[in-house]
């Protein structure tokens, strides 16, 4: 077993004096894992991602990222938001290079890294286009390339493909696994889609709402590389049914 990269133990999160969003979360994630967080709205899955990213402080409990506090580990972490969050006044390349520019890297080196990650997400043909000229799927690819430009150890993805059509989503799922193969990052992936979670993950964490807590952690039994055939196999269908059932148990409307 690989050493643990993210250690969460007895974690609790509350916004101010409001309701408790996450209660007693304990989870160990090893290097190289792909963990999907799934659950009904209000179960705090996005919040958990924000805590790991140090975009929001932990109320109590332990959260260690690569042995450090999340704030210190931010250099090793990249976030992919629900929307592509591209700067509309910058071209594709300039968007991808933004984190490198902020780091103070010189232009030549930036261009080189940008070309690499742009190739990785399959956008070789569009370096000078502006975001408005791109489709939703292409925007998300740029967003992922931007996150990868700093070669993060941990990639946090907050429902990145939620707004895309099913075909584009399937394609991007396959590509994301391909990129993971090459880059070897550890991923946390928030999604509403059971199929997506099953296809991508090494483990699926099902969260229950009010307050958000871990209902069940399920290991995904399919070996990588996963392909279209994986998704179409009867074993995959059977597994997604099982996950759906577990999810229904925590969904307040589905009871």
């Amino acid at each position: 077993m690989n050493p643990s990269l993210v250690t969460i133990s007895g974690l609790r999160k509350r916004y101010g004096r409001g309701a408790v969003v996450l209660e007693d979360i304990t989870l160990d994630v090893a290097k190289g894992e792909f963990v999907s967080l799934i659950g009904p709205s209000g179960c705090g899955k996005s919040t958990l991602l924000k805590l790991i990213a140090s975009l929001s402080p932990v109320t109590s409990g332990t959260l260690l990222v690569d042995g450090m506090s999340p704030a210190k580990a931010r250099k090793e972490t990249s976030f992919v938001f629900q929307e592509a969050t591209l700067l509309p006044w910058r071209t594709v390349d300039d968007n991808i290079e933004l984190p490198l520019q902020v780091l103070g890297m010189d232009r030549a080196q930036r261009r080189q890294i940008c070309a690499q990650v742009r190739n990785l997400v399959g956008l070789d043909h569009v370096p000078g286009l502006y975001p408005r000229q791109l489709s939703g799927g292409m925007k998300m690819r740029v967003s992922i390339a931007r996150a990868l430009s700093v070669a993060p150890k941990i990639l946090l993805l907050d429902e990145p493909f939620g707004a895309l059509d099913e075909m584009t989503r399937d394609r991007l799922n396959e590509e994301l696994l391909g990129i993971r193969e090459k880059r070897g990052f550890t991923a946390f992936f928030v999604t509403h889609s059971v199929i997506e979670a099953c296809f991508l993950s090494t483990r699926i964490v099902i969260l229950a709402p009010n307050p958000g807590r871990i209902h069940r952690v399920m290991a995904v039994p399919f070996p990588y590389p996963r392909t279209v055939e994986t998704r179409e196999s009867p074993e995959f269908q059977r597994f997604t049914t099982e996950v759906s059932r577990a999810l229904r148990a925590v969904n307040p409307e589905g009871r």
Binding site: L55, F81, T85, L87, V102, Y130, R132, V150
Partner: protein, 258 residues
Amino acid sequence: MRKYLRWYLPIFTGVLILLAWVGIKEAFGIRNFVLPGPMKIVHAAVKEHHNLVRAALVTMEGASLGFVMAAVVGFLLSVVMALSAGFRMSLYPYILILQMMPVVIFAPVLVIMLGPGLPAITFITFLICFFPIVANTTQGLISVDKNMVDLFRMINANRFQEVVLLRVPHAMPYFLTGLRIAGSIAMIGGTTGDLFASSSAGGLGYIVLVYNGELKIPELWAAGFTACLCGFVFITVVLVLNWLILRHWHDSIVKADL
């Protein structure tokens, strides 16, 4: 066809207005010092073009200086206010007060303080143009999408980088809207300044006073239209700036070209 209509329709409206003008004047026998005919005004403009051009240049000088000053100071102040909520809270009421004070009332005081001529015209234009620029730019600087701000936190951007790389470009359309409003009122500032700076400067506002005193009504109208033309110069400059800055990315300029 549509393309030509863009040009023909306004021309047609203009002809209608001129016909109505002449028609009403003739039908009611309105005399020239009450309402001069269009041709009379054209004649006056041609006859007086020397004075009008000179006066317009004087006003334009003050108005453009004031306008540019308002743009620069307004922009910088907005950035400072966007950077610090404390600054914003302490300054904003006074900027509002400044805006609420009718400039016409303070113009004589300003002329006494700054001396007649260019400085007064410039400053009065500045006062008028300043507020729309600050109000719009500040709005643009603080209305950045929360996710974008989070993105900048994630990539460990410092406050300065966040302002320069995110907030300022995001505020550009707002700033330009402010400039457009300021550009359309800059001539009000300029001519108000003229009125009180009087003969020492001799701008459009001043020769209007002279024409009025001499009952040169067509000339007065000609001066009015000259000021209007000057206003269009401002607007044109702003529109060009607008196009230069936003042409690649903003929806107001690019409409689904793919």
